[in-house]
Structures are given as structure tokens and as C-alpha cells.
């Protein structure tokens, strides 16, 4: 048994196991550039980006009950939008905010159409729109550079005109920028799902009909969830061009839409942290497998099958269950 304070009914306890674990993780992430090399920072950025992507997806899927297969479309709008803005004026903040808002706008327009359906029809509709965005990225050469994409995107400095200008040239600097943005975005998402709005989403997931009869316009709230997911996808995408210096059509392909789905299911859809943990595992699994074998697809596939067959709750709920089992008497305080 731990030596922490005896569990009480108070929910205002300052130090809880959950909070200290989170604190530890954040500290580890902040210290990462000191212990890990450039590649570690690069991978950490990728994981953070996928986390944001999956987190937004899960607000739509895990919380509102809508499985989208077209999130890559908004991811791509964020990426291409940010890239275009960075090529226009080299200001990181302008690019990232602009790309995110563009994706949100796209989600609003397409969302009005998509939220008319639920279940498999919703999935198919989002797939269709996502692939339309992919086709545009591929075919609208004058704007998107076609198959070859946009190249030579600068990692512009973080600029607030008249106030401050921080160069982002080094990977470490950009890592801290992405980390800060991600932590803020994750905190906002956490607040959101534990707010009345979040509970409304969950009500819609559980029973649409019942929700309508509490006086809520289900379609409006589905649209809100869709736009939020679109904004997170857009933000994730908008962090990409400055990292890679390139944006190409595969970011919009349906196989990219599968990434947040896999990450979320890996981590667990019921837990808030599921998509984040899932993104970490998904990335690390792939990154480690590709070092050892050319046949990484089959291993990824086997992991997917095993997870689906045996661990549908995802890693996070599995861990929580173990935790509870280890500490009897500390739940339901």
C-alpha cells in the first residue's frame, strides 16, 4: 500500500496519483531534449501531432458516437493551409492558427452535410468527402503542387509582431513549441469533455432519441462535435509542414484517416487519455518494428487483430482495471 493520504470523499485533493503521474509525464516531456537526441525530439513531435489528431477524432467517435473515416481530409486542409500561409508570410503562429481555422471552416461546411447521417452511412459519407479532398490535393496542381506536393516550406520563426520573434530553426525549439501547443490543446480537450458540452456529446452517443427529448437539437451538437474534431485534425496537420518542410497528398488519403482510428482503439475509446497513450504506442510499435524487419505490415496487422479480439477496451482501461485490482478499497471513495 502506498503512503499517500487516506482516500476521502473530497474531490479537492491537491495531489492524487493521477495528477502526479501526469506531472511526471509532462516533466519527462519537458526534459526530453536533454536526454534524447534530435531523432527523439522528432519522434516526440510526431507522437504529439498524432495525439492531437486522435484526441479530436475521439471526441467525435468515443464521446459522440460517430466513426469518421475522413479525418485525414481536415488534417490535410490544416497542413496545406498552414503550408500555403508559411510560403506567403513566414510567421509560424499565423500559419498554424490559419491552417487550424481553415480546417475548422471546412469541417463546418462538410459537417452540415455529414451529420445528417449516423453509423455506417456517416462513416461512408466522411470517407467520400475525405477522398474528395484527397483528389483535390492530387489534381489541383496550381494550388497544391499535385502529386509532388508543396516543397520548400520554411520553419518560420514564432512571431508576435512588435513583441517577440523566436527562431524555430533548431529541432529542440520547434519541439518545445509543439509541446506547448499540444499541452494547451490537451488541457482544453480535457476540460471540454468534462463540461456540460462533453456530457451532452455522451448523451447523444448513448441515445439520440432520449437526448432530443431533453430539449437538445441533436444535429446541432453533432455538428459542434464534428467541427471540434475538424479543428483538432487541422491543428495536428498545421504542425506538420514546419516539421517536414513538405506537404504531399498522402496526408489526405484514407489510410491516413486510419491512423487516429488505430491509435484511439489501441489506447481505448472510453478513457480520455486513450488516444494519447494509443498514439504513443502506435508510433513506437511501428517505429521499432520497421527497424528490424521489412515485413512490418504483418506485425502491425497481427497487433490490430489481437487487440480487437482480446483487448477491446484498449490499453488504458486495461491498465486502470489492473490498478484498481491492485488497490482494493480505494475506489468508490
Amino acid at each position: 500500500m502506498g503512503e499517500g493520504p487516506v482516500a476521502s470523499g473530497s474531490r479537492r485533493r491537491i495531489v492524487t496519483p493521477g495528477r502526479s503521474a501526469i506531472g511526471g509525464l509532462v516533466l519527462a516531456l519537458v526534459l526530453l531534449p536533454l536526454v534524447g537526441g534530435q531523432y527523439a525530439q522528432y519522434v516526440a513531435i510526431q507522437v504529439l501531432i498524432l495525439s492531437l489528431f486522435a484526441l479530436g477524432f475521439n471526441i467525435l467517435f468515443g464521446y459522440t458516437g460517430l466513426l469518421s473515416f475522413g479525418q485525414a481530409g481536415f488534417y490535410a486542409v490544416g497542413a496545406y493551409g498552414c503550408a500555403k500561409l508559411l510560403l506567403l508570410t513566414p510567421s509560424l503562429l499565423f500559419g498554424v492558427v490559419g491552417g487550424t481555422l481553415l480546417a475548422g471552416a471546412a469541417a463546418l461546411v462538410l459537417g452540415v452535410l455529414c451529420i445528417r447521417h449516423t453509423r455506417i452511412y456517416f462513416s461512408m459519407l466522411t470517407l467520400a468527402f475525405g477522398m474528395m479532398i484527397f483528389s483535390m490535393a492530387l489534381k489541383w496542381r496550381d494550388f497544391t503542387g499535385g502529386d509532388d506536393g508543396l516543397v520548400g516550406i520554411p520553419r518560420a520563426p514564432l512571431e508576435i509582431p512588435g513583441l517577440v520573434s523566436i527562431s524555430m530553426a533548431s529541432m529542440g525549439r520547434y519541439y518545445y513549441f509543439v509541446l506547448a501547443v499540444s499541452l494547451v490543446a490537451i488541457a482544453i480537450a480535457y476540460r471540454l469533455v468534462h463540461s456540460p458540452l462533453g456530457l451532452t456529446f455522451q448523451g447523444i452517443r448513448d441515445s439520440e432519441g432520449r437526448m432530443a427529448f431533453t430539449g437538445v437539437s441533436v444535429r446541432t451538437y453533432r455538428l459542434i462535435a464534428f467541427v471540434i474534431a475538424g479543428l483538432y485534425a487541422g491543428l495536428a496537420g498545421a504542425l506538420l509542414p514546419a516539421l517536414e518542410n513538405t506537404v504531399t497528398p498522402p496526408v489526405a488519403h484514407w489510410t491516413t484517416s486510419a491512423d487516429p482510428v488505430l491509435a484511439t482503439l489501441l489506447g481505448g475509446i472510453q478513457a480520455f487519455a486513450g488516444p494519447i497513450v494509443g498514439a504513443f504506442l502506435f508510433f513506437m510499435i511501428k517505429d521499432i518494428i520497421v527497424r528490424f524487419t521489412e515485413y512490418w505490415l504483418i506485425w502491425l496487422g497481427i497487433i490490430v487483430v489481437v487487440l480487437v479480439m482480446g483487448f477491446r477496451g484498449g490499453v488504458v482501461s486495461l491498465a486502470t482495471a489492473r490498478w484498481r485490482a491492485l488497490r482494493p478499497g480505494r475506489e468508490g471513495a
Binding site: 451532452t200 437526448m211 437538445v216 451538437y221
Partner: protein, 251 residues
């Protein structure tokens, strides 16, 4: 002339060739406890679906508090003071019991859109939910997952959600189906209490004639999508047509 709380004129809904509701004109006054009865397939549930906005009528109008709400969607009707429960159980199975009741309370207070407030800081809505929890007798189960409740408790919970928006008019589709006598008494007690304290008008669809005749102040009998008879329990008991076509068989 009497001012009805809810009034329908010539309401009609057909599915293919079948007229589920074939021209119903009804008026429901404030504060009554009314029941709709009739054999299976008489069109009772379709009528309620038309009144609560789940279906749109082919012809006819629905007026609520003098306003034409024929084309108003369900959630809009709820905001105007109308609510319902479902024949097939309809709760939020993955949420805690308390959260089930928090949702209608938040909605009534227009708090759904609040994206940064903590749930526990919604004091007004929480107080409403806790009051309801006690009233429906699920206080002890407040932190349980709703889907894990017993059948009777789930029906109670659904009733709680339905009245959680504090409706002026509430439709209950077979509220006592599958309940044990104690649970049934909770339901009936709650209805009587809300009816007298908040002047909530209840319209129930029910097969259990004991419930109907012990509770209802007014009974509407439907058959083949039409209103067969409409009156006080005493009048219905005396109605020859009703006795022949319906009550004769069951009572």
C-alpha cells in the same frame, strides 16, 4: 370556450396503405391525468409520436399553448414544455445514473453549450438532479452505470429523465410495463405528486387497466387510428361501444 393546453385537429398519418392515425381531433386541458387506451395497433404510439414531433403528420395540426407546433422538431417542443418517455427503454446506458438526470436539468437551464465549465460546478443542475434522484428512489444507485440497473430501476430512471425537463405536458408510453408492485407505486406516486405540486399534465398509454382506472381522470379510447370514445373513467365504463369492442375482451 375552453383553452386547451394541447389541441389537435384532423391529425392523420399513413404508412403505405395503412392509416395508423386517421383523423384525430383531441384537446387536453392543463393539469389533467389522462390515459390513452386501445388494442394493439390502435395507433396510440403513432399518435404520441405525432404529438411529440418524432413523426410529421400527413395532414392536420398540433397546437400547444395556442401555438402551432406541427412542424416544430422534437427538441423544440421539449423547450416549449413537452416531454415523453418511450415504450422501449431509452436511457443513457453508459453514463452514471446521476449524469442521466443531469442532462435534462442542464438542458432546461440552457447549459449544454458550456464547454469550459466543470460539471460539478453546475450547482443548479446538480441540485435538480439530486432532488429527482431522491424522488425516484435511485439515490443509492447514483454513481452506478445506468445500463447496469435492474429493469424496473431503468424504467424509473427513464421517467426521471422525462420529467427532468420540468415539462408542462408529459407523455408516458407504458410507464409501468414490467414493473413490480412497489416500483409501480413509486411511479404512480411521483405522477400524482408532480401533477398536484407542479401542475404537470400527464398523458399515459397503458395496458394495465388497474393503473388506468385508478389514476386517470380522463380516458381516450382508440381503435383503428380513430378515437372511439373520450370521457371520465365512469363514462368509459358505461360506454357500450367500448365495452363491446375492447373492454369486453379484457376486463
Amino acid at each position: 370556450m375552453t383553452e386547451y393546453l394541447l389541441e389537435t385537429k384532423g391529425l392523420r398519418k399513413t404508412f403505405g396503405r395503412l392509416a395508423a392515425v386517421a383523423g384525430v381531433s383531441l384537446g387536453i386541458s392543463e393539469g389533467t391525468l389522462a390515459a390513452i387506451i386501445g388494442p394493439n395497433g390502435a395507433g396510440k404510439t403513432t399518435l404520441i409520436n405525432l404529438l411529440t414531433g418524432l413523426l410529421t403528420p400527413d395532414t392536420g395540426t398540433v397546437r400547444f399553448k395556442g401555438e402551432d407546433i406541427t412542424r416544430v422538431p422534437s427538441h423544440g417542443r421539449v423547450r416549449r414544455g413537452l416531454s415523453r418517455s418511450f415504450q422501449i427503454m431509452n436511457i443513457f446506458p453508459n453514463l452514471a445514473v446521476r449524469q442521466n438526470l443531469l442532462l435534462p436539468a442542464l438542458s432546461r437551464r440552457g447549459r449544454n453549450l458550456h464547454a469550459v465549465a466543470r460539471l460539478e460546478d453546475e450547482t443548479g443542475a446538480n441540485a435538480d438532479a439530486e432532488e429527482l434522484l431522491r424522488e425516484i428512489g435511485l439515490w443509492d444507485h447514483r454513481d452506478a452505470r445506468a445500463g447496469a440497473l435492474s429493469h424496473g430501476d431503468q424504467r424509473l430512471l427513464e421517467l426521471g429523465i422525462a420529467v427532468g425537463t420540468r415539462p408542462e405536458l408529459c407523455f408516458l408510453d407504458e410507464p409501468c410495463a414490467g414493473m413490480n408492485p412497489i416500483e409501480r407505486q413509486t411511479v404512480l406516486g411521483l405522477m400524482r405528486k408532480l401533477s398536484s405540486q407542479r401542475r404537470t399534465t400527464f398523458v399515459i398509454v397503458e395496458h394495465d387497466m388497474d393503473v388506468v382506472f385508478s389514476l386517470a381522470e380522463r380516458i381516450v379510447v382508440m381503435n383503428h387510428g380513430e378515437v372511439l370514445a373520450d370521457g371520465t373513467p365512469a363514462e368509459i365504463r358505461e360506454n357500450r361501444v367500448v365495452r363491446e369492442t375492447y373492454l369486453g375482451a379484457e376486463v
